[in-house]
Symmetry: C2
Subunit: 329 residues, 2 copies
């Protein structure tokens, strides 16, 4: 199998627009409040993948390259990165994570109070920017999605330390908390680009299938990643009591006696806990199992693209699906 394309190659059809995103984000978030301005500059100095804005831009590119759209498109694409940032900042409080995009979390650097409020600020600004965009169909899709993301996160929290969490429930959670926003970012771009309702429907499906694959791989990287490459705290879910697919699978195939032992370990504060869990997860084949699942969702995502004829943007979506399976960040 040949190596997957790099993100740079995948983003090529929208490269120049994507380069304008970091600046647009800071413009949207500009504030005379010095503390907020410092925190915002700091947070966005961490280099993310800009996946959500790229999806918006590629979604529009599938249909239209109209330059007149550009200002609205940049603002819309940036809004999704800002909204995503707000959820990351709040997630890092919840998980007590210390590293995000290779720099200490806001939580660690300024404390949870600042993290709560700056997260709220980003949240509000993203919503305001999407609203100002002025497309009612995008606003209503987005508001539904925001509710779904939050619902997914509360659902995840509710299932903490639930050792019999089913794979189906896990999938429902990650579809809500991760895939829905990826799909929404993509769908919004397509709406602005003038896609018809069948195309929008297909892209929504693609976004959801792709997003589920993306999150499963993320959850595998939480075990097997290299912290420096991954850019965030390894084992964060694990320490927060969140069971993801590798662990769910491990619990499913373990014989009852060993299961009790593992539950004790999972709930304990033993320093070597994560390394032991990691070894067990890896030895059991649970990571391979999870990666197989991710591959199935990736294949479904590729299928969803069938309604589109070949184009640079379509090829980017296809390559993105391969990239996700091989990514290490």
């Amino acid at each position: 199998m040949k190596a997957a394309a790099t993100l740079e190659e995948i983003y090529a059809p929208v490269e120049s627009r994507l380069q304008a995103i970091p600046e647009t984000i800071l413009e949207i978030l500009s504030t005379p409040n010095e503390l907020a301005a410092d925190v915002i500059r700091y947070f966005f100095s961490g280099k993310g993948k800009l996946l959500r804005p790229a999806l918006t831009l590629l979604g529009a590119e599938l249909k239209s390259t109209d330059e007149g759209l550009e200002p609205r498109l940049l603002k819309l694409a940036s809004s999704y990165e800002i909204f995503h940032g707000a959820t990351l900042i709040h997630d890092d409080i919840i998980d007590s994570a210390y590293l995000r995009r290779n720099i200490p979390t806001i939580n660690v650097k300024w404390g949870p109070e600042v993290a709560v409020l700056v997260g709220d600020y980003l949240h509000d600004k993203a919503i305001a920017a999407i609203f100002e965009n002025g497309n009612p169909s995008i606003v209503s899709t987005f508001l539904k999605t925001a509710g779904e993301v939050c619902d997914g996160e509360i659902h995840e929290l509710k299932e903490k330390d639930n050792f019999v969490l089913s794979e189906a429930e896990y999938l429902a959670i990650i579809e809500k908390k991760t895939a829905s926003l990826l799909a929404c970012a993509l769908e919004s771009g397509a709406i602005l680009g003038g896609a018809n309702s069948a195309e929008i429907h297909a892209l929504r499906r693609f976004g959801r299938d792709f997003g589920i694959a993306f999150q499963i791989v993320d959850d595998c990287l939480d075990f097997t990643g290299n912290e420096h490459e991954f850019g965030k705290t390894l084992g964060a879910d694990c320490f927060a009591g969140v069971l993801t697919l590798p662990l769910i699978r491990l619990f499913e195939i373990l014989e009852p006696a060993k299961k009790g032992e593992l539950m004790q370990l999972f709930k304990s504060e033993t320093p070597g806990k994560f390394q032991t869990l990691l070894d067990k997860v890896r030895d059991s084949g649970a990571i391979d199992y999870a990666m197989e699942k991710a591959k199935k969702y990736s294949a479904a995502a590729r299928n969803d693209l069938d309604v589109f004829s070949d184009s640079p943007a379509k090829r980017s979506f296809e390559r993105l699906v391969d990239y996700v399976l091989e990514r290490n960040r």
Copy 2:
């Protein structure tokens, strides 16, 4: 001076509509997510003053009693209470408060993780409900206000333990964090009721002047209130390092030698800290000073109402101004 009217008397012109608010709130927030549903039911079982929905309803009542408006009006009014709830839930994390509306905070009962997410959920649902209301001028006023509330809160956080915080900065903070949302709730009702732009402008000024008076009294009650009547943790600001008008005034009039002593006490974790601070604040006349300030803003608020001719709703606004100065909750 005769006793101020009760809230019940003040709310009389919109009594029947106000009675429908708690149910409307729960309808807007209904969710199949059991944890979220439990927390929401619990939070709204605490009896708040419903000040924001009352302002929306009274704002509409000034101009129109059109029954056709009712469903939209109820939803709009409820949205402000939900949004306010979201900010309270996040504030209680920030202040580590244990009591809110006479029941333990979500923070205490479910932990900060749940509080962060349920706050986000309420936040999103409030915004979605305001958007669904479909009046662009209300949405845009609200989104600006949401940004302002957040900005005010971050500003307050930045000034923690700032013993030379000026009265002007304090006033700027409370106008943003409290008065702006009260004004917005009121203004939105008036817009829906069909007020003209001069009337809307006057109500915005009223909301802001009234809101500043309201918050100054709140900050006095944080010292002098009865925890059971006030319904929330006394001294919460004080323990969180937030300086409000009574303390700002005390620091201003204290001789330099005593100031250093008081700063030490304020920053300490001494158990008797709050009682000592309270005695000093009271003995210095700083509470009286703050209440005088509140009275000035109340007088300004009364003036703002001059453009309206006499009506039950207008009388309610006037009585509300008196109520705020005498309230103990």
